[in-house]
């Protein structure tokens, strides 16, 4: 919740000055970012570059802090330390209006779509257009149908979100995310809970839309097979740190124990099977009461 502050040009200037990266090369740049909820550390020393026009995956087990990275890029959270630069602007230094202006260039696909349940598929995709543009109704209609056609759901325009399957809902959400032709699309677990066909469709759509619309994509996921097929670069995050990174070829050939455990799906390894606990024998023979 925020009460919008008056725009201050000095804050905007600071937001630009804080970023030394070239926005033409890197769409997103995280420099030594740390984040904690109260005292519980979530991320520490995260440094990553997301080049313009590429698809970058952030991989890690559930609870490793990868969704937090998306929230930092989107300005929903502020880092405890370090820099977050998006399109040449330092996100934590932006005032609310600047942040909202930046977000208009974003698209985001939420884990389960997050479609507005009280609106039809058509209205869901028209929503960002109606909110941010003054386009006439006929043009909005054409644009919505074009976006729906791109994800293969033009025939579902009149349906309500409750009538869609999980895969369809994800595709509608994808059409909504690209409604305003964003420069950056963030995907939060786009493959979670999908059947193999829908999974393949979403994967292909992410790649095709990225290339056709020249956008930059950040995919947060734990689906290693699907990601290796479509992305340009991968970062592996574990316990709030980047533990490995590389192109799909490098990752496939990697001998890194964490990467191997992740790709092979081994139960035990650098990511332990057991949650930290006292010694088994000690606890079993402990004097209860």
């Amino acid at each position: 919740m925020s009460i919008p502050a008056k725009p201050s040009s000095s804050r905007a200037a600071e937001a630009i000055a804080a970023c030394r990266v070239d926005p033409a090369a890197a769409a997103v740049e995280l420099t030594d970012v740390s984040f904690a909820y109260d005292v519980r550390p979530i991320l520490s020393g995260i440094t990553m570059t997301i080049p313009r026009g590429k698809i970058v995956a952030i991989m890690g087990a559930s609870g490793s802090g990868k969704t937090t990275i998306l929230r930092l890029i989107g300005g929903q959270l502020r880092p405890k330390s370090g820099g977050v630069c998006v399109g040449g602007l330092s996100v934590p230094d932006l005032e609310p209006e600047g942040l909202y202006a930046l977000r208009r260039k974003f698209g985001m696909l939420f884990q389960f779509g997050a479609l507005f349940t009280d609106m039809s598929v058509f209205e869901n995709i028209a929503f960002p257009m109606r909110e941010h543009t003054e386009l006439p109704e006929e043009l909005i209609r054409d644009l919505v149908l074009m976006k729906l056609h791109a994800v293969g759901l033009r025939g579902a325009a009149h349906l309500m979100p409750a009538e869609l399957s999980g895969g369809m809902a994800r595709r509608v959400a994808l059409a909504r995310a690209i409604a305003l032709d964003p420069m950056l699309v963030m995907y939060d677990e786009p493959f979670a809970g999908l059947d193999p066909i829908s999974l393949g469709v979403i994967g292909q759509l992410i790649r095709r839309l990225n290339d056709a619309l020249s956008i930059t994509s950040v995919v947060v996921t734990h689906d290693v097979y699907e990601s290796l097929k479509i992305v340009d670069y991968l970062y592996f995050v574990s316990e709030g740190r980047i533990v490995a990174a590389g192109t799909p070829e490098e990752v496939r050939a990697s001998r890194d124990p964490f990467v191997r455990q992740f790709i092979d799906g081994a139960a035990d390894g650098p990511v332990a099977f057991h949650y930290p606990a006292p010694a088994y024998r000690e606890e079993l023979f402990a004097d209860v009461g």
Binding site: M1, S2, I3, P4, G74, Q76, Y100, A101, R103, R104, F106, M108, F110, Q111, F112, A114, L115, F116, T117, F127, P128, E131, H132
Partner: protein, 271 residues
């Protein structure tokens, strides 16, 4: 032993301290929340179709329960009132009793309580579920402030609906009173309406009733949108937020009613 005792006392004190600071920070958040909703009010009225939609959901769809309850409350009031007034030979005064009770107290309070349980709970559950399913976060990421798009229209929908519902509740209550008093019991219709016209004034009776219902509308709507927005994004969180809305709104209505009655009718002639 004494160390244990000290630790126990310390824990107890910590718990009290935690509860107090927790309550204080929630109150502070709720106040800032109200300011933010008021700040976004022009936005809510610019998107008039959204506010109208909320008036429909909170107001029009509550009509059945409000009108039926009003009718029955008026009928019961008339029956009970007649029994008491008859003992003093004042049964002709039934109209004034029914009308004053409804317009001053029962109309605003009963419709407020019904509104809290019918519309308030629905608003909380809706906003809470929108939060749980990340619809509010999605809106924020689309650079649309959920306070302007979701919260403010629901708040104003409730605030505008409440006095109208209270007025309709009183009107139907008076009609119910008339049906029982005049049609069933057989009090003279002229006396019923005449006494009512002579005894009920626009100021203070009707106006104060409207002010009360307006204040209840603000209280219930604010609690409903706040609890929804502040709900923990889980099934359990939404359910307890919905319960809290009904409990808090009901207590708030009754407490505010007492306070306002003290100030409004202190100097007025007592029934």
């Amino acid at each position: 032993m004494s160390a244990e005792l000290t630790a126990g006392v310390a824990q107890w004190l910590r718990r009290i301290g935690g509860a107090v600071t927790g309550a204080a920070s929630k109150l502070g958040f709720a106040s800032r929340f109200l300011l933010a909703v008021l700040w976004h009010t022009p936005g809510a009225f610019r998107r008039m179709h959204l506010t109208l939609r909320e008036i429909y959901f909170s107001g029009v769809l509550s009509l059945v329960i409000i009108l039926m309850s009003g009718l029955f409350v008026g009928m019961v009031l008339s029956l009970q009132g007649y029994e008491t007034l008859k003992r003093y030979g004042a049964d002709e005064q039934l109209g004034i009793l029914v009308a004053l009770s409804l317009v001053r107290e029962l109309g605003p309070v009963m419709s407020g309580l019904l509104f809290a349980s019918r519309a308030g709970s629905a608003i909380t559950a809706e906003i809470g579920l929108m939060k749980t399913t990340e619809q509010l976060a999605a809106m924020e990421m689309m650079a649309v402030d959920p306070l302007a798009r979701v919260v403010a229209p629901r708040f104003w929908g409730g605030v505008i609906s409440m006095p109208l519902l209270a007025a309709l509740f009183s009107a139907f209550g008076i009609f119910g009173g008339y049906v029982v008093g005049v049609r069933l019991i057989g009090i003279d219709a002229g006396a019923f309406w005449g006494q009512m016209k002579a005894g009920v004034d626009v100021w203070p009776d009707v106006t104060n009733g409207i002010i009360k219902s307006f204040v209840f509308g603000i209280a219930v709507s604010l609690i409903a949108v706040f609890e929804g927005y502040d709900a923990k994004p889980t099934a359990e969180g939404v359910s307890s937020a919905t319960t809290r809305t009904v409990v808090m709104s009901s207590l708030m209505i009754l407490a505010l009613d007492f306070v306002m009655t003290v100030f409004m009718f202190r100097g007025a002639s007592v029934i």
